[in-house]
Symmetry: C2
Subunit: 185 residues, 2 copies
């Protein structure tokens, strides 16, 4: 099925659930024949930005690169989901301004919740001081002021969050309206 | 029109005609409804690899990044044309091995011809020693041993070279056979 491309930009703390929600959306969209790619922060760091640090300057360079690749894909009809902490508002807005069909998805969970999940063990290292400049601990996270969708992952299930995002895409005409698992048209 | 994705990798000296041939192919393929992207060496350096030098190590990192992006696009049905000197055989072979539907196009012109064109004025700078490590002057170019297509741009017109590449893509079933400007089916 042909579809317009779009860049879904998931921003939020480490452990907030960005990639998990993206994977749930991927399953839904692939089932309706859409072309989908997930650009996960870790994969991108490995393949596009090895050697960059987590300084503000290097984080911004990394985000610009991801934005460049997302735009290449989305202008060719791919639904691209970027899952990257992307803590700085200004660079997110820069990427938005250079990307057609951009949706910002704020994956919002309290720091305490993200830290208690600590899937990658990074919060423990940040608290111990073995990782410096960790977002939420000793580096700022600038919340979106006007996200297209906000997912509250401490309150919603993954499927609820995914459904909200897909509904917003449908309402913007970015994907065809499809029969969901709950029978919603 | 839907089409399989493919990565066309143009390798050759600076000034050999890589981007020029890619643009000519782009015109042909877009006219038949294909999705096409050109990843030009200069654009890629700006957007993915700013800060990298032209040392062998950094060139290899750059080529791996381009390969990563080309693969993302081609697996989503895009015909990607990479136009990058990519002087080292081993890294070209590495990219080939990680990319489905990969075609290596050797854009072959004698150094003297490329140097006499000197579109960007780089050969003059390399001869003057103000640019170091310039391919063909004081850095090696390793010719492909088994390119899928070789374009001899000192002997062929741009359109002749482009037609050879498109014919090879057609014969491999990578693009639909289309009416060319010369009436070839």
């Amino acid at each position: 099925m042909l579809n317009k491309g779009v860049t879904l930009w998931f921003t939020g703390l480490s452990g907030s659930g960005k990639t998990t929600i993206a994977r749930a959306i991927e399953r839904r969209l692939k089932a309706s024949g859409c072309r989908v790619e997930i650009l996960d922060g870790d994969i991108v760091r490995t393949n596009l930005s090895k050697g960059l640090t987590f300084s503000k300057e290097d984080r911004d360079i990394n985000i610009r690169r991801v934005g460049f690749v997302a735009n290449l894909l989305s202008r060719n009809g791919v639904i691209v989901m970027v899952a990257a902490i992307s803590p700085y508002r200004e660079i997110r807005d820069e990427v938005r301004s250079m990307t057609e069909n951009f949706m910002e998805v704020y994956v919002n969970a309290p720091l305490e919740v993200c830290e208690s999940r600590d899937v990658k063990g990074l919060y423990a290292k940040a608290r111990a001081g073995t990782i410096k400049g960790f977002t939420g601990i000793d580096d700022p996270y600038e919340e979106p002021l006007d996200a297209d969708v906000t997912c509250y992952t401490a309150l919603e299930s993954v499927e609820e969050s995914a459904a909200k995002v897909v509904a917003q895409m449908e309402s913007l005409g970015l994907v065809p309206v499809v029969q969901s698992v709950n029978g919603r048209q």
